[in-house]
């Protein structure tokens, strides 16, 4: 039990990293009304774009992160326009399944270009700080701060900017939004841009602590989806809470069960949450 505070901190750090792509996934779900599983490949694309910026161009973390954001956002928009948009009228599941096919295509495009080798960012690594018997990594802390900053920006933008409000309006009632002069196609594109951008940035943040390969994004898709569902699909604060539940839940699971069942415990958490709140913690409130 002396591990408890440490595990909590580990969980919060993991959860906050998970929250970024989960927000992107949720925003796209809220506005376009389908689970876009191609977040897996976009996280990978973001991670590789960040890698290219960092290792090839020698950029530090934050500019590399912006590069990751932009690249994933652009790829997201283009691939959505070509592959998914024409299928959306045929229902959420058709679009969702097409997005899995899209993931296979994009992941292998990354593989085609970069091969399967593991790659690491060119960033100095520091030992963890120890305080009061718990340890926190400076890098993890930096990632946590970046994640919190991104989240704050997202919330402020949604709450106070004209475009943010337009996004929420489309998420809430797309037909009515159109009647108020909001172009839902434009808002859809914008959401894909920012959503996939966040996913890409999240992919890079997650990759910073590990190494990246074409499967990087695929490893996150289950926790991302789980976080979005636990929080309440379509609710952005919910996705952050969901990410925390999954992050902390997985880390704490080590106290009770063999570490080999880590993700299973995450799923037990989901089942328990859903038994008591069948529509997720915050319910399906949009934003």
């Amino acid at each position: 039990m002396e591990l408890l505070p440490q595990l909590l901190i580990n969980g919060v750090i993991f959860g906050s990293l998970l929250a970024i792509p989960a927000i992107g996934f949720t925003a796209i779900f809220a506005v376009l009304r389908f689970p876009n599983f191609s977040v897996a490949s976009h996280a990978t694309i973001g991670a590789f774009a960040g890698y290219a910026a960092n290792v090839w161009l020698g950029l530090p973390t934050v500019p590399a992160l912006l590069f990751a954001f932009t690249t994933a956002a652009a790829v997201g928009c283009i691939s959505d326009e070509i592959a998914l948009k024409p299928l959306r009228p045929y229902g959420a599941l058709t679009a969702a399944i097409a997005s899995i096919a899209l993931t296979i295509v994009l992941e292998n495009m990354v593989r085609l270009g970069f091969g399967n080798d593991l790659r690491g960012y060119n960033l100095p690594l520091m030992r963890d700080w120890r305080m009061y018997g718990v340890r926190v990594g400076p890098q993890q802390l930096q990632n946590l701060i970046l994640a919190l900053m991104i989240m704050t920006i997202v919330f402020l933008a949604l709450k106070f900017t004209r475009t943010g409000k337009a996004m929420r309006a489309v998420a809430d009632n797309p037909e009515l939004a159109e009647l108020k002069g909001i172009d839902p196609t434009f808002v859809g594109r914008l959401t894909v841009f920012f959503g996939m951008g966040l996913v890409g940035a999240g992919g890079m943040l997650l990759g910073l602590g590990t190494s990246i390969d074409p499967l990087t994004g695929f490893r996150f898709i289950l926790p991302i989806f789980a976080a979005a569902v636990v929080g309440g699909l379509g609710s952005i604060p919910g996705s952050v809470i969901g990410a925390m539940v999954i992050g902390i839940g997985e880390e704490l699971s080590i106290l009770v069960l063999s570490a080999t069942y880590k993700s299973a415990v995450g799923f037990f958490a989901i089942v328990i949450v859903l038994i008591f709140r069948p529509r997720g913690i915050l319910g399906e409130r949009k934003f």
Partner: protein
């Protein structure tokens, strides 16, 4: 006449032409009712005006300019607003935010919102609450208020009284009369024919996608033949 639609035909798909030649006009400060049996194309006509139908033929003039073939956004920019029958508010946005979205394309949104809050103290009082907290009648009022933020010249209402209790419906028609008083053209589609005829200046009765009878509200309300055929031969 600031608004005139001539011989409108169209529908949701090529095979399904609901409108087969509808002609309707309206002027500022006037309330016009569109009545008729189910499937006559009343609501479809409103959607045609708003640019929500894929194919529309015929001409629509507003303030001397053609607005047929425009996208909804461009129609809204002419100061025209549409209140759908259902799902006409943004439930998870606050009332204030609902009105802000109403003024998405309007320049002096904040001023107009304050004016509307003056008109509807109920909304002003609950401006921070989410719209889903409102009751059915209040929601209809909000829906009209949202539209009024940008619809400075013409308001299209699709069955505003549907599902409302007589008292709430009465209040609603009162509001509509007030709105028309501020030199806005109001076109409303109604099932509640008698109440609509009492409220409106002129009325059109559509049948099977084209004009059937036109006249003033009182004329039509008092014509026994019309009562018999179109209003179900009923009296209050």
């Amino acid at each position: 006449m600031i608004f005139s639609a001539e011989e409108i035909t169209g529908g949701y798909s090529r095979a399904d032409q609901i409108l087969k030649g509808v002609t309707i006009s309206a002027d500022l400060g006037e309330t016009v009712a569109i009545l008729g049996p189910n499937g006559a194309g009343k609501s479809t006509f409103l959607k045609a005006v708003m640019g929500l139908l894929p194919r529309v033929e015929g001409t629509i003039y507003f303030d001397g300019r053609r607005i047929d073939g425009l996208r909804p956004k461009q129609v809204v920019e002419h100061g025209i607003g549409f209140v759908p029958q259902e799902n006409n508010v943004f439930p998870s946005l606050s009332i204030h935010e609902n009105l802000e979205i109403g003024g998405y394309l309007t320049s002096d949104t904040q001023r107009r919102i304050e004016e509307i809050f003056d008109c509807f103290p109920l909304l002003a009082k609950r401006r921070a609450e989410a719209a889903r907290a409102l009751s059915g009648g209040q929601r209809q009022i909000l829906a009209m208020a949202i539209t009024m933020v940008h619809a400075s010249r013409m308001l299209l209402l699709d069955e505003p009284s549907a599902g409302l209790a007589p008292k709430a419906a009465g209040e609603l028609f009162e509001t509509i009369r007030q709105i028309a008083g501020c030199s806005i053209a109001v076109i409303l589609v109604e099932q509640n024919a008698l109440a609509a005829l009492k409220t409106c200046d002129r009325a059109y009765i559509l049948s099977a996608g084209s004009n059937h009878i036109t006249g003033t509200g009182t004329e039509l309300a008092n014509d026994p033949n019309i009562r018999e055929t179109f209003l179900g031969g009923r009296k209050y």
